[in-house]
Symmetry: C2
Subunit: 340 residues, 2 copies
C-alpha cells in the first residue's frame, strides 16, 4: 500500500502544488475587497489538508485529451482555474454539510461551523459556490456550466433521496448506487468530463473519461462507507460508527442483509432502527456484517468498479498517453487502499 501511495504522490506532486498556488492567488484576489472575517473563513475551510482529488482529475483528463503538449500559458492558467472551481464547490458542500450534520470536526480540526458559527458557514459556502460557478461559466462556457450544474443539482437531489432513504430499511443495492451517484460520483465524473471537454477531447474520449470518473467516485464512496466501520480514527481524523449511529443503510449493511438468515437479519435491522441500540450496538452490528461478508463483498464491488473504470481508459492508446493513464490507474487503486 505504501508503495502505491508513494508512487502516486510523486507523480502528482507538481500538479497538487500548482493547484494550491492557484487557490491561494485566486482566493486572495476574489476576497481582496471583502470583510477580513470572510477571507479568514474561506482560507480556513479551503486550506485544510484536502486531497485535491477533484482539481487533479480535471488536469489529468485535460492532459489526456490534449492533442499537443504545447498548451500556451493562458490556457494552462485557465485550466487551473477550472480545476480549482471543483475544489471550491467541494468546499462549499462541506461547509453546508457540517451545518446540517452539526459536525464539530472536519479532517481532525474544528469544522468551519464549529470555528466561526452558522452564519459564516452558510454564507462562506455560498461565496465559494458562487465563485466556482463563475469560474466554470466564464472559462468553460455554457457546455461546461451545463455539466457542472447537472452534477450540483444531482448532489442536492441525492441528499433529498438520502433523507427519504433514512427511513427506508428496505433499501436495495440499486437505491444505494443511485444515491451515491448523486452524492459523490456525478461530480467526480464532471471533473473528468469538463477536463476532457476543455482539453479538446472527442465525444468518445469525453464519455470514456466521464465513465472513469463515475467509477472512481462510486468506489470512493464505498470505501468511505467501509472506513466508517473499519477506519482507524487516528488516520481518518473522524470517529468510526457515525453511519451506524445514524441508522444509515450503507453498502456493507445492505449486502449483509441480503445474505443473512432471518434471525440475524432482524437483529441487524433492529440494531439500526433502535435509537438506544444505535449508541451501544456498534460492535455487535459490525460482527453481524462481518459474519455475512458485508465488508468483503463491498470491497470486492469497489474493486470491480475500479477495474472497469481503468479498463475503459484503454482507448487512450498513444505513447503520449501512457504516463497519464498510469497516474489515473494508480489513483483509482489508491482510492481502494486509502485509509483516510
Amino acid at each position: 500500500m505504501n508503495s502505491t501511495k508513494e508512487q502516486l504522490m510523486t507523480a502528482i506532486a507538481p500538479e497538487v502544488e500548482k493547484i494550491e498556488l492557484a487557490m491561494r492567488s485566486d482566493l486572495a484576489a476574489a476576497s481582496s475587497d471583502c470583510d477580513p472575517l470572510l477571507a479568514e473563513v474561506l482560507n480556513y475551510g479551503i486550506f485544510n489538508g484536502g486531497k485535491r482529488l477533484r482539481p487533479l482529475l480535471v488536469l489529468l483528463a485535460a492532459r489526456l485529451a490534449a492533442t499537443s503538449d504545447t498548451a500556451d500559458e493562458k490556457s494552462q492558467r485557465e485550466l487551473l482555474l477550472l480545476a480549482i472551481a471543483f475544489e471550491y464547490l467541494h468546499g462549499a458542500t462541506l461547509y453546508h454539510d457540517d451545518v446540517i450534520d452539526q459536525a464539530a470536526t472536519r479532517r481532525g480540526k474544528a469544522s468551519v461551523v464549529q470555528e466561526f458559527g452558522e452564519i459564516a458557514a452558510i454564507l462562506g459556502g455560498d461565496f465559494l459556490h458562487s465563485r466556482s460557478m463563475f469560474l466554470i461559466g466564464s472559462i468553460g462556457g455554457s457546455m461546461a456550466l451545463e455539466i457542472f450544474c447537472h452534477a450540483t443539482n444531482a448532489m442536492v437531489d441525492g441528499e433529498f433521496l438520502q433523507l427519504r432513504n433514512a427511513r427506508n430499511y428496505n433499501l436495495n443495492e440499486a437505491d444505494y448506487f443511485s444515491a451515491v451517484q448523486g452524492k459523490t460520483a456525478l461530480l467526480i465524473a464532471a471533473t473528468c468530463e469538463i477536463g476532457a471537454l476543455v482539453g479538446g477531447a472527442t465525444a468518445a474520449e469525453q464519455k470514456c473519461l466521464a465513465g472513469y470518473g463515475l467509477g472512481l467516485g462510486t468506489a470512493f464512496q464505498i470505501v468511505d462507507d467501509l472506513l466508517d466501520y473499519q477506519g482507524d480514527e487516528a488516520s481518518t481524523g473522524k470517529a468510526v460508527g457515525n453511519d451506524f449511529q445514524e441508522g444509515k443503510m450503507t453498502l456493507p449493511v445492505i449486502l449483509a442483509l441480503n445474505k443473512a438468515g432471518s434471525v440475524d437479519r432482524e437483529r441487524l435491522l433492529f440494531l439500526l432502527k433502535d435509537e438506544d441500540l444505535r449508541k451501544t450496538g456498534f460492535a455487535e452490528a459490525s460482527a453481524l456484517i462481518e459474519k455475512y461478508d458485508g465488508f468483503a463483498a463491498s470491497r470486492k464491488m469497489a474493486e470491480s468498479i475500479v477495474a472497469e473504470a481503468v479498463s475503459g481508459l484503454k482507448i487512450f492508446a498513444g505513447e503520449k498517453a501512457v504516463q497519464t493513464v498510469s497516474v489515473l490507474r494508480v489513483l483509482a487503486e489508491y482510492v481502494l487502499l486509502r485509509n483516510k
Copy 2:
C-alpha cells in the same frame, strides 16, 4: 397611494404573469427528475406572493435598451429565463437567511426552514442558487455572469459587514450605505445592468440603468428599515421591532443619534445595547427616534435617492421609451409608498 399602486399594477400585470408562468415551467423542468420533496420545497418557497421586482426590472431594462420592438420569440424566452434567475437567487438568499435568523414566518406563512427543516432549506437554497447561475451563465454569457457574481459576492460580504456592524454602535451613514449596497442594492443594480446588456444597450445606457437600480435598491432598503418601526403588521406580514430587538443600527437610528442631545443619545444607545431593554423598550426608542426626526429624515433621504435615480433615466428620450420610463418612475415612487 392607491392610485400609484393601481397604475403600476396595471402597467406591469402582463410581465408579472409571464414571469410566473416562466418560473412554473422552468422549475417543473429543472426538478422533473428530482425527489418529490425537493420539488415541493422549491415550489413552496418560490410561489409565495413575492413582488417579482427583480425579474421585472430585467424585462423593463431590456425593453428600454432594445433598439427595435421586434425581438423574436427565442430572445424573448431567453430574456424571461434571465429575469427569473434573479428571482431564484433572491429565493435562495431568503431560504438561507431564514435558517440564519431562525425565522419562523415569511410573508405571513411558515418559512421554508420552519415548514421543511434546516436540511431542506439549506439544500433547496443551494439548488436555486445553482439554477440561477446556470441560467445567467448559459444565456447571458460571461459578462452577465461577472456582473451577477460581483453582486452575489457583495451580498455575502455585506452580511459579514453587518455581522461586524452588529457590535458597532458608532456606525455612521457611510457604513450603513455600504452595507445596504452589498445586502440589497447591488443585486437590484445587476438586474437592470444585465437586462440592459442583453437588450443591447450602449455602455452609457447600461451604466445609467445600473445607477437607477442602485438607487431603487437603496431606497427599498431604507423603506424596509422604516417599516420595521412603523409598518402595519397586518400588511407587512411580519412583526415590527425586529431590527430594534436585534440592536441593529438602521438609518432612522443613525440619523436620530446624529441630532440627539447627549442625554437622549446615551439613552437610545442604552436601549439598543441592553438585551433586556431591547425586549421592552421599543416604544421608548421609537419616540426618541421620532423626537429627532429620524424617520422623517430617512424618508427624505429615500425620496431624494429615488428622485436622482429617476432623473438619470432622462437619457432615454425617444418616443419609444416614454412608456417604459414612466413604469420605472412609478415603480420607484411605489418603493417609497409601499406598506409591505
